[in-house]
Assembly symmetry: C2
DNA sequence: TAAAAATAATTGTTATACGAACTAAAAGCA
DNA sequence: TGCTTTTAGTTCGTATAACAATTATTTTTA
């Protein structure tokens, strides 16, 4: 039974590694940005930031559109928008054409928060990817996307 | 502003992509195994499975040792062990040498569950990694580990 | 046009994640 | 030995995540 990665933590068989490595790295990445946001006293979580950024690129999306853009589900978006509205960064505006929908709009405070947080995120991003070449990053993304497609839920 | 990945979902700027891609793929991977376990009626979650597998490789670990091996924190392990014990797959055995500790031991039922679930996981794993070459997987793991090290929490 | 189906959002339950505070026990040290 | 610090585990509060069920509204269709 060949064991690898003994130095990093649990001993795991080779065939188990890729999924484990992926999970572990994604978790640490999320934690890294989370702690960066907390340490800077931004008062928002990384998931809230992701939603703010989506709205910054396209303001007034419906909750379902935000869900699709972030790969989160509808209840999760409901709760994140609840928090963002409570903090005054977004507003729910009833869609005049479809009263089931809200348009989620950034407030002035939301835009200000984005301006405050963006440089913090950019700095953290540089630190995270330091030492990795563009080609290496492109290759990583190719492989991850291939995996992503392999794992697509069955249609129907 | 170059936008990429339009076809997969939200439009995102290039510099944001790697972290987004990593997060998205890891999430879908977890969901894929989660649904595989649910569809097969195993009655356990993927996180519970990870703990069972660690114990299968080294029975009798303390909760903190399990936490380190799985990169989960102590409260999370407490709750997962609670659930595994309630389901009869593990037992808490007080450590005779250190009464603060438990040795977590697989029961016969736990071993039986592992024997039942392992082929299901292996099949799913093959499907997930189908079409990816060994070299590609090794390269993926190298890059992910490089990232993982970049993101190591500051010592102290 | 009325009934049925689909859509948007919410609420509830359970599980995971993380920090903080807490208890109990062990180890280190004056 | 007695006091302090450290360690192992639990509990609590809040946030995220998935799934199911529910409500309100719109669209389909018979």
């Amino acid at each position: 039974m060949p064991k690898v990665e003994e130095s990093r933590g649990a001993s795991v068989e080779r065939k188990d590694m890729p999924g484990f490595t992926l999970e572990r790295t994604a978790k640490r990445m999320k934690q890294f940005f989370q702690q960066t946001l907390a340490a800077a006293g931004t008062g928002i979580t990384i998931d809230q930031w992701v939603v703010l950024q989506v709205l910054n690129q396209q303001n007034g999306l419906s909750q379902l559109e935000i869900a699709r853009a972030t790969y989160k589900d509808a209840p999760t978006i409901t709760r994140i928008i609840d928090l963002l509205c409570k903090k005054g960064f977004t507003e729910r505006v009833t869609d005049a054409n479809d009263r089931r929908k809200f348009r989620i709009e950034l407030t002035a405070g939301g835009r200000q928060k984005i301006d405050e947080v963006l440089p913090i995120i950019q700095h953290a991003r540089r630190k995270a990817w330091d030492g990795l070449g563009n080609q290496q990053i492109d290759q990583l993304m190719d492989t991850l996307n291939q995996l992503f497609d392999n794992l697509a839920p069955e249609e129907g």
